[in-house]
Amino acid sequence: MNHIVLYPLLIPILTASIALIAFNNRRLQRWIGVIGSALLLVASSVLLYVVSTDGIQVVQPGNWEAPFGISMVADLFSALMVLVTGLKAFVVSVYALGDMDDERESFGYHPLYQILIFGVIGAFLTGDLFNLYVWFEVMLITSFVLLALGNKKSQLDGAVKYVVINLFSSLIFLSGVGIMYGITGTLNFAAMAEALQGTENTGLVVTASMMFLIAFGIKSAVFPLFFWLPASYHTPPITVTAIFGALLTKVGVYSLVRMFSLIFTQDIGYTHTILLWIAVPTMVVGVLGAASQYDTRKILSFHIVSQIGYMIMGLAFFTKIALAGVIYYILHNILAKTNLFLVAGIANKEVGSYHLSRLGGLYKTNPLLSSLFAISAISLAGLPPLTGFWAKYTVIYAGLEVQEWVVIGFALAVGLMTLFSMTKIWMGAYWSPLPDASRLASDPDFKPVSGNQKAALYIPVAIIALVIVVLGIFGEPFFAILFEAAEQLLDPSIYINAVLNP
């Protein structure tokens, strides 16, 4: 039995436990968090290496054979997601050294952060539907606490909306689990997919698939179920916003891709057409919402919604190139979007606001931050040669192949609007002169960051910007892995055989 799959799970939960032992020592907790995240990054890199050389890795904890026990499965898609989670967990834990305040650290920010990562990785690795629900709950309850931690009015307000809608979506998810168990008599993904091959009960299966579409649709913030996201994501500290924006919605997208490529493939003409026509308004409304905002965090929150649209669109095309594009898009988005959040956080530390009317002058005073923003923003808007271009290019190329002209038209127009939003932030925060109302100009007590804090804030952002550039320019070997991952997704028998007939 190969335990390599379990290490990315064990490391965060162990880190959280050790950090809890050191609960009274904030300084120690910080370094435990950073070391744990670094180990996680190593473990997830090893996992990806093993999966890409030896094929799908399966562990049956407790030696309960599938489909009776809970399987942990790492195919290439999962392994890639785990790797990017590890990378993000590491850089954000370094960033937190400079950003997180003492009060939140005293109330257990570091253990909570590690448990959040634990839940996310569990959701990526599980091969069991009910287990997926449990991982979602682990992830949700920690995100509830992280969102409300700090007790500011706006945080509580955002948390109320976030909690209620997520509880609701979990319950829809759970009833979908119950229905699928009633239909197939199993909860294991592979056994379920096998039981559904050639099923006559297509109508019932499609109905159940819609419950999963709604449940994961709420979690991944697709149109018209996204309103909780821009209402809550800007309220916590920027570190928390960044890790939420990076991972939580992507877990929803991951689950959608997994369910609609492995299990719900009975009536692709119906289900994937619905996905396609969800994707278009998601892109359009997200980007228009962003255009109406002037708070950088809210602009970026709306852009999360818009980018989710591209991912769902790729899933709806459901060809090999499209799925490779979806995986690339998720990875690109995790990198570029969170980097923009982190840059916005630095701008807030340097000038004292997130609002464009109180930001300015950064291009003149801080060329390093400006170039880091420019790399991330150009990547998000999809200009060559960075990751965003290849992600959009792949998904749109797949759309041209299946001749969905209207959808492609919308996707291209939305890309242009994304560029508009990025330009708006660039003009407001970087090119325009420093306004008198800004804290830097008006508040004599305000000090920009310096010293160690500055290093802790800039280094993670620079690392991710470097990854974006390298992945964009030298992306070819990476695409080979993506195409292999897409092949595994398109042919469920690979997954089924790996789990059921080892």
């Binding site: 007790n151 500011k152 009015k153 109320v160 909690v163 759970l174 168990y181 809210k298 807030n348 004292g352």
Partner: protein, 133 residues
């Protein structure tokens, strides 16, 4: 039994949807709890209802010799109840904290995170989140 349980589940879902659409946050939270109980009953029902055939294996045997009731849905429901209980406790505390901070449990009046000003120019008095201390 199944039709009866189906009706019960339907009534519970209808009730919870009604409560979820209220403006009073306490009712919304109670609506979530009722919905979670409806879903638990749904899983229980879909695991097939069998009476009087306990899932026990006789001494000396490795597999059951005759038909047994399925114990798995009960394990699922138990897990879901525990999770639901924890989340309910959190939601209640959050409701209370939101009430003490914002002075209202009417969800329509909770506009702190999305204030009315969002245009290009902020009013002089506006305090955006990053500046709040």
């Amino acid at each position: 039994m199944e039709p009866l349980l189906a009706i019960v589940i339907g009534v519970l879902v209808a009730l919870s949807v009604y409560l979820l659409l209220r403006k009073n946050l306490v009712r919304v939270v109670i609506g979530v709890v009722i919905l979670s109980n409806a879903v638990n009953l749904l899983i229980f029902t879909l695991g097939r209802l069998d009476r009087g055939i306990p899932p026990l294996i006789a001494a000396g045997e490795y597999v059951p010799t005759e038909a047994i009731a399925n114990p798995l849905p009960q394990a699922l429901v138990l897990t879901a109840i525990v999770i639901g209980f924890g989340l309910f406790a959190y939601a209640l505390v959050l409701t209370y904290r939101a009430y003490t901070e914002m002075g209202t449990i009417n969800v329509d009046d909770m506009r702190v995170a999305e204030p009315a000003y969002k245009g290009e120019e902020l009013p002089e008095t506006a305090v955006t989140e990053g500046e709040e201390k």
